[in-house]
């Protein structure tokens, strides 16, 4: 039996978006826009930068209000299962970790090789040279796919690793091998 996170999700959702709309209307929009709802430019009145986000906030306010008032007592509000939310949080954290690994694996490997061989290589100059350009993508991508499969299945399996490696090889074949002008992550940033 799954444990619901909130008793009435519609009321909570309505409340959240009403509060967000009020925050937008009275704090974020006034403090973070240089012009108001309307502005005077050379004696001409024009629409200011704050008007459009105010309309967006009004949509949220009306939507949140209607949700609380009209659907708050719905017999079938969406049930939120706390365990599923935690699972997605774990997947998200694992993906962040994968992309951090993807970002730093290549430059780190170059530094290690430099330290061992006494070279003066720079990853930036190698970012379009095999196998350096694939290092971060292979490591980070494998962790992302294999980790996500393992978390979903609740166990690590060799099958997950093989699927990840094959998928990464296929993606390199699709995005990198045929195109000179495409850079796999993270090589465009380095």
């Amino acid at each position: 039996m799954k444990k619901p996170l909130f008793q009435n999700t519609n009321v909570m959702t309505g409340l959240f978006f009403t509060a967000l709309a009020l925050l937008l209307l009275f704090v974020w929009i006034p403090l973070d826009s240089d012009t108001g709802l309307i502005e005077k430019v050379r004696r001409q009145v024009a629409i200011g930068d704050a008007l459009a986000p105010t309309v967006a906030a009004l949509f949220l306010l009306i939507g949140g209000g209607l949700l609380m008032l009209l659907e708050g007592k719905s017999d079938t509000p969406p049930a939120i299962d706390a365990a599923s939310v935690k699972f997605v949080a774990r997947i998200f954290a694992m993906l962040v970790l994968s992309f951090v690994l993807m970002r730093y694996a290549g430059p780190l490997a170059v530094q290690v090789v430099n330290a061992i061989q006494g070279n003066d290589l720079e990853y930036r100059l190698l970012r379009d040279t095999a196998p350096w350009k694939w290092l971060g993508y292979v490591l980070g991508g494998t962790l992302a796919i294999c980790g996500t499969i393992s978390l979903t299945e609740g166990r690590f399996s060799l099958r997950a690793l093989v699927v990840a490696l094959l998928a990464i090889a296929a993606m390199i074949a699709i995005f990198d091998l045929p195109f000179d002008d495409l850079l796999l992550p993270p090589n465009g940033d380095l």
Partner: protein, 530 residues
């Protein structure tokens, strides 16, 4: 002097005589034709794979296609032809697992399972697939004909009768209609629309300081279309599906029974029997599809219910009832959901308002490549000089009919061989789709920042699905946000800074009253249970 027929002919030639790829017996085959074929076959594959759908294939293909064809107007037809091929292929592909394995490949194929699977269990799987294919292609072709006739006329009407205040009010009406119609809860639709507008307004504006950027470099450049749309639509859906897979990880899956495909054909008598169901469903689906935001699932439900009523009245006692393996049930569903796809392009091509995810990706492609801005200005039949956008529009219509031709000829055969795709385990497929989508976004924008943005929007998309808030109004509002503000600014200036410019004009005022009335009426109706 250019006439209407000249434009149509130029559009046809743009598809058939575009850049040549190779020739068969001296007959040149243009790259656009090949791209339509590839997109169509890929569409059938993804449509037949539960957990994948047309939008996923479009999201992944778009950056690759743009890399291949570049950012020139010559790229528009091959790229958009490919996307149209996917859209049409995925529509028929969704019926395959629905019939063979009782698992709809796409959400709108759910009603197909009701009669398709019982037919398959009785040994008539091949006939069920043939019925689904015939009904689907008939509905789709009908819908395309309506699109070709209606879109230019609607665009001309808009250009002739609507000025800036009315266009602003029309955009607001579209947003409120989508908010009210999508997802079954007007309140949640408004929230989704509000979020989409808010995100569209971050880091933009007329002033030197990029509004709502909190002084940060990342937000001051604004949020680009790719991360927001793909994050909410694709990554959010992947997170949601993965959570579902994880929840049921301990459930021992029953082996999928091997269905005997059978060999029965669709006779002329069968076709005659099916046509009234297909005709009605095609009309319903086309009408539903022409309204932005209402999806093919609703069209399928209406088509099926109408077909069921008719069947109850006229069916012979020995014929199976709807839900027990009636081929009329498959025909009614498939004709309805397939006839949505063509009509769905009416609002996008004539008004610039995307009504479904396929239209969103066509806009994304047009926006990325440049040289084609879907909207009423496309249909300017200039006589002294060629309007290249109009040629592209007729090229797109031609591409749709080419895809239909492929669908009539090879679609059925290819579709019937796709049963294997339903056996691909989702928990292995979805993580690959996730990384593929993120890689596709990165190679287009080459900044790790876009990955973080996409993941963040993926979380937003997951949260929205968790709370039963449809992400489609978010995406459409995000696309239309900039256009709404620009039109409103122009209308305000053009009316001499009249603060009541939306109410002083009768058409604009009528649109505004309708916008409020739609939300009011939709809020009063009991929300659909989820």
């Amino acid at each position: 002097m250019m006439g209407t027929l000249d434009y149509i002919w130029l559009g046809v030639l743009a598809v058939f005589q575009g850049p040549e790829l190779f020739s068969i017996f001296g007959l040149p085959i243009s790259i656009t034709l090949l791209m339509i074929l590839c997109g169509f076959l890929l569409g059938i594959v993804v449509g037949a794979t539960p957990g994948l759908a047309g939008p996923v294939a479009m999201a992944i293909s778009l950056p690759i296609l743009i890399s291949v064809f570049g950012y020139t107007p010559d790229a528009l037809l091959p790229v958009m032809g490919f996307l149209i091929g996917i859209m049409k292929g995925a529509t028929i592909g969704g019926a395959v697992p629905a019939i063979l394995f009782n698992t709809p490949g796409t959400p709108d194929a759910y009603m197909t399972t009701l009669d398709g699977y019982p037919m398959a269990q009785k040994g008539h799987a091949k006939k069920a697939l043939r019925v689904a294919h015939f009904a689907s292609v008939s509905g789709d072709t009908f819908s395309d004909v309506v699109l070709v006739i209606c879109a230019p006329f609607l665009a001309l009407l808009v250009e002739q009768y609507l000025d800036l205040p009315e266009k602003t009010a029309l955009l607001i009406l579209s947003l409120s209609f989508i908010a009210a119609a999508v997802g079954g809860s007007a309140a949640k639709g408004l929230i989704s629309t509000g979020l989409g507008l808010l995100v569209a307004f971050i880091g933009t504006g007329a002033d030197f300081y990029p509004r709502l950027s909190m002084g940060t470099e990342a937000l001051s450049q604004g949020i680009t279309l790719g991360p927001a749309i793909l994050g909410v639509l694709i990554i959010g859906a992947v997170f949601h599906e993965l959570a579902g897979q994880w929840r049921h990880r301990d459930v021992v899956s029953r082996p999928v029974p091997q269905i005997e495909i059978g060999s029965d054909r669709l006779s002329l008598g069968d076709v005659r029997k099916l046509m009234p169901y297909i005709g009605r469903s095609a009309i319903v689906g086309t009408m539903v599809g022409a309204l932005p935001g209402i999806g093919s699932t609703l069209a399928a439900t209406i088509g099926y219910t109408m077909g069921q009523r008719r069947h109850e009245k006229i069916a012979k006692p020995d014929e199976p009832a709807f839900g027990e393996g009636a081929m009329e049930g498959i025909a009614a569903t498939e004709a309805a959901n397939s006839s949505v796809s063509g009509a769905n392009l009416i609002p996008v091509l004539s008004l610039g308002i995307p009504g479904n995810t396929a239209a969103v990706f066509l806009i994304l492609a047009a926006d990325s490549i440049g040289g084609f801005n879907p909207g009423p200005s496309v249909f300017k039949f200039t006589t002294d000089a060629v309007n290249p956008e109009l040629v592209i529009a007729f090229g797109l219509f031609t591409a749709m009919f080419v895809a239909n031709f492929l669908n009539w000829t090879i679609g059925g055969l290819f579709m019937r061989s796709m049963g294997i795709m339903a056996r691909v385990p989702k928990q292995l497929l979805l993580p690959v789709v996730l990384l593929l989508t993120l890689t596709a976004i990165y190679v287009q924008e080459t900044r790790l920042e876009v990955i973080w943005f996409t993941l963040a929007f993926g979380l937003l998309g997951y949260g929205m699905r968790l709370l039963a808030i449809s992400p489609l109004p978010f995406v459409i509002a995000f696309i239309l946000g900039g256009k709404l503000e620009a039109t409103a600014r122009q209308a305000f200036d053009a009316t001499g800074s009249d603060p009541f410019f939306l109410l002083n004009n009768p058409i604009a005022a009528a649109f505004m009253v309708l916008s409020v009335a739609i939300i009011f009426l939709a809020s009063r109706k009991k929300p659909e249970s989820k």
